[in-house]
Symmetry: C2
Subunit: 600 residues, 2 copies
């Protein structure tokens, strides 16, 4: 059987049973939608993913882009695939109808994207990046800029990129040096170098619009001096989009990435010939602010990718475990009996169940975060929007990092299940392992996510986010008990949440006393801790929903059994790690802080 | 500064201060050696590693072997490197002088190998495999066989392979089907297919001797029917090694491995033309027994490789962290101040210290295991040999798996420290990440190691191995307290060891009551648990040795500070995980055991 990429039953279960996404249709913003239109979108993405994107994945991994004389040629299949995704409206799926979008809830879009990313992450990458770039123009550009760039980008006629990073300013965006000088026609002369620009050149579309950060001459140093520009590869001469001339944007080099081989990562040289025009987007000096306002969405997208990349590998190793004969159970001493499928070995089932726990927990997490985004942006009441914002902000670094880190572990297990074959490029798991590694690095490393979580999100408003999380956790615990889930699991989750809340208060006090380093010292552990608890919360919600479904059906099917066993696994294996993590964070253990460079 | 591959100070510290390997010279087997001859061997290996092997590593990774018409061409640098390693006597380093070896303790050889493997694992692979193959002939072959094959292999004139695995018998060696039929001249006609044969063909030497498992016609099914054969690529016609004819061994295909690119992994077809002769090694039906008697050494070699591969990447990321400017400390708000080296960020030091803890703990572990092997084989007294055997057997699955699993985590961190550059093949950490992944798979997967540990090693002789381990742990605790190490660390280690011992007794009782599945259910967790405790034991021994050195010197230098902080880190970060692991193993948690194929 072909790899399903993502489990259809699980997608339906999360949307319908666990998170009741259908209720979003009650909100005015989504009033034109019905559960049926949601299904249509997901189903068309799923079919495109299975029938078109996945069959080209391997070829794209094996035939990476070619850099030649300042231009880049990407895999030719992309010239067909990207327009197909654009035709389905995927670039503007969550944007308002007013700008040509489907006005789809992000939570529904995420489910559709999971299939596309699982099928072929780098092919979807062009869509995701273009959506982000066009969204910036929609949100902060004026009508002229929207008319010039946005509509063509949402239609997939021109693709887009995010051009932030520079060779000496990766995670430290305040240090970018690309310059912008005002020109007489209202545009700016751009000059500088960008690096790691995904999709920075290709032959899929003639034009590519780079959303680039640059510093207007005379602007202050640091983050406050950074502005946002639209810098097309071909510029509309005198604002005429049908008269395009070269805009002095050169691919100066290609980074040889270890995964995501379908989309090139480029060094771009802007204005080497002093002939690169950029269109200011929004206000001068607001570039980073605009970028950060888009950050939640971008980071959730990374999370979806992490889940998707783990999911496709999980399904591959599941099929392999069902088919590959090797060895016999310990009790079967007769060597003339046939070998059994490796699924029969408990440790193989352990590796599969761990993957399942990470993949299904991760998928629930990213959809849940997206649902809070939907409520934050389109909620009925101020309170709904406020709560949505608080939980979205809290969950975003977790939704970004948990799939990146635990997803990577899951991808390692998919290789391991394949044994020696997993170590070869004749089998696919190693390619997903390479793909997945990016997710702990781009859009803010795991370390940066952890500082964002503990230093900003958790400490904001006197710890309001943890209070809000504790409230939804309590609701889940109640739902679970009512649905017949073992009370001990509800208690275990409540205790873990309480331990996190108490620890957080203590850390806040350390910070308030001026010991910021001490507060943040174990931020990565704190991120891990909160991730484990959040995923436990969602697994308990899944168990509750599964039991309610069993009650409705009058019986338990294999899917329900699988959900319940996965929750049991997480509560027995990961949730107990909370105590050790809390103790370590609380202890203030400082061996690595004390370390000096010369001691290593 | 060039990558040192392995820290010279740490090698000297482990051999001299921690494990006092010099005392091995008191044993008759090593009486011809002195600490100076040990140093000479290590130093010559170190120089070869740094000056010859490491500079060719990248080229070998980027230009993998070419398979063409039944022959394989490997990187041409190997035609120079392999003879150089042979000239240094590395193939027979630990073998007796009687067979042309250096009669070097394995513990010293391991230190030398660490440099070679860190420099270029696949180049060293030819040496390691040939050593293993020749050792089998030395140990189990008769004089004729030794005369024909062994000496040429130890001299590097003919290289060797281990040809065990078959397409349908990977981990389940009892299922191999390659056949051997007696021929009139005393040899056997071999026929079958082997897979994953490392170094199975190349142009480095004309002849290659495959140590192959096959089943003599009429032999019983299963492991008892398997015999060991020497199957050369070119056979000495009428036993004349100067008259070589083709022996009908064909490279039938090449596996495209994701790492170890310097050494090909081949499908070998034996006797397709009914003209492949094999020389029986030892007694019929004893092939697997012979192989397993070599297993400790082979598994320690994998462990050394895991440590070495983590070590070279650790040093690469350490140098990068010292040089790469990025960002500023949280307190430095002025964006016009220069960026700091990323070493200044506590979380980067955390990632480096974790690597250091894994690498130095792992190196101490593999040298310690090798030292028990030296005592087991060459100890003065029956008691010394017995204790050496018991601890060697216990430590072997840990020495194999800890570097493979934690070493992989360490390699992931080396990539992460490099940020976006770590995701590119312009930088080396990603190549070591690929290399390292093999170590959890070959020579018995981590799952298989865990069953060996818990099912065999720990349960043998009523749990004698854990008693022996507890005794050496206690000696370390006493040494540590005497040396001035914080008593709490000694107590923490004793408590952890006691917890393991109690748990082990309970598991033994489960097994004795007939619940073998229940006893072995959490074997991978048990392996992890014991690994953490064993590495904590060795880190405490390191701290004790470091304090003793400080007392001798009258001061602490940076190296000593680094050792002490690393021990603090492990005791604060990993050793506390013991409680959670013990609780989980004890609980009998069975979610994954209950899982059925159709529930996934």
């Amino acid at each position: 059987m072909a790899n399903p990429l993502v489990d259809d039953r699980d997608v339906a279960f999360i949307l319908d049973d666990v998170l009741d996404v259908a209720r979003l249709c009650e909100l005015p913003a989504f009033a034109d939608h019905t559960p049926e239109t949601f299904d249509l979108v997901i189903d068309s993405a799923r079919r495109l993913a299975r029938e078109q994107l996945y069959p080209t994945y391997r070829a794209m991994d094996q035939e990476p882009p070619v850099f030649d004389d300042g231009r880049v040629r990407v895999h030719k299949a992309l010239q067909d695939l990207v327009p197909r995704m654009a035709e389905l409206g995927l670039i503007s799926a969550i944007r308002p109808e007013a700008v040509g979008g489907m006005q789809l809830p992000l939570s529904v879009a995420v489910a559709a994207q999971a299939y596309l990313m699982a099928a072929n992450a780098s092919a979807y990458g062009y869509v995701g990046l273009t959506a982000g770039a066009a969204h910036l123009i929609e949100e902060y550009g004026d009508d002229d800029l929207r008319a010039l760039f946005m509509a063509r980008m949402y239609a997939g006629e021109w693709l887009g990129t995010m051009a932030l990073t520079e060779p000496d300013a990766g995670s430290s965006l305040g240090d970018i040096t690309t310059s912008a000088s005002p020109r007489h026609d209202g545009t700016y002369a751009i000059r500088g170098a960008k690096i790691f620009i995904s999709g920075g050149d290709h032959q899929i579309t003639d034009n590519i619009v780079h959303l680039a950060l640059a510093r207007i001459q005379g602007a202050p140093a640091g983050t406050r001096g950074i502005s946002l520009f639209a810098v097309p590869r071909l510029r509309p001469e005198h604002g005429d989009p049908t008269a395009l001339v070269d805009n002095d944007v050169r691919a100066a080099g290609m980074v040889h990435k270890i995964g995501w081989k379908g989309i090139p990562s480029l060094v771009l040289s802007l204005g080497e010939g002093d002939n690169c025009h950029g269109w200011l987007v929004g206000q001068p000096g607001r570039g980073l602010t605009y970028m950060f306002q888009m950050m939640n969405e971008a980071r959730i997208m990374v999370g979806v990718n992490g889940v998707a990349t783990a999911s496709v590998a999980f399904h591959e190793s599941l099929a392999y475990a069902r088919e590959r004969p090797q060895g016999r159970p310990p009790a079967a001493k007769d060597p003339t009996t046939p070998q059994v499928a490796i699924m029969a070995h408990p440790d193989v089932r352990r590796m599969l169940l761990r993957q399942k726990a990470i993949v299904t927990g991760g998928l629930t997490l990213v959809v849940a975060a997206a649902r809070y985004s939907d409520l934050a942006n389109h909620g009925d009441t101020e309170a709904q929007r406020h709560d949505g914002h608080v939980l979205l902000d809290l969950l975003t670094p977790i939704a970004k990092s948990f799939p990146a880190e635990y997803g990577y572990e899951s991808n390692v297990l998919a290789v391991q299940v394949h044994g020696g074959y997993g170590y070869s490029s004749e089998y696919l798991p190693e390619s997903w392992l390479r793909d997945q590694k990016l997710n702990s690095i781009h859009e803010g490393t795991t370390g940066i996510q952890s500082l964002d979580l503990l230093g900003r999100k958790v400490m904001a408003d006197g710890g309001a986010a943890i209070v809000a999380l504790a409230a939804v956790v309590e609701r889940t615990a109640e739902r679970a008990v009512a649905a017949g889930v073992d009370r001990r699991q509800a208690t275990q989750l409540r205790d873990a949440m309480q331990a996190v809340a108490t620890l957080t208060t203590e850390l806040g006090q350390r910070g308030a006393a001026g010991d910021i380093e001490g507060m943040l010292r174990h931020s990565v552990d704190y991120l891990d801790l909160l991730s484990i608890v959040v995923v436990a919360w969602l697994h308990l919600e899944r168990a509750a929903a599964a039991r309610q479904r069993a009650t409705r059906l009058g019986s338990r099917d294999g899917f329900i059994e699988g959900v319940l066993a996965t929750t049991d696994y997480w509560f027995a294996t990961d949730l107990p790690r909370v105590d050790t993590l809390v103790a370590r964070i609380r202890s203030g253990e400082d061996s690595f802080v004390r370390m000096r460079s010369e001691w290593f």
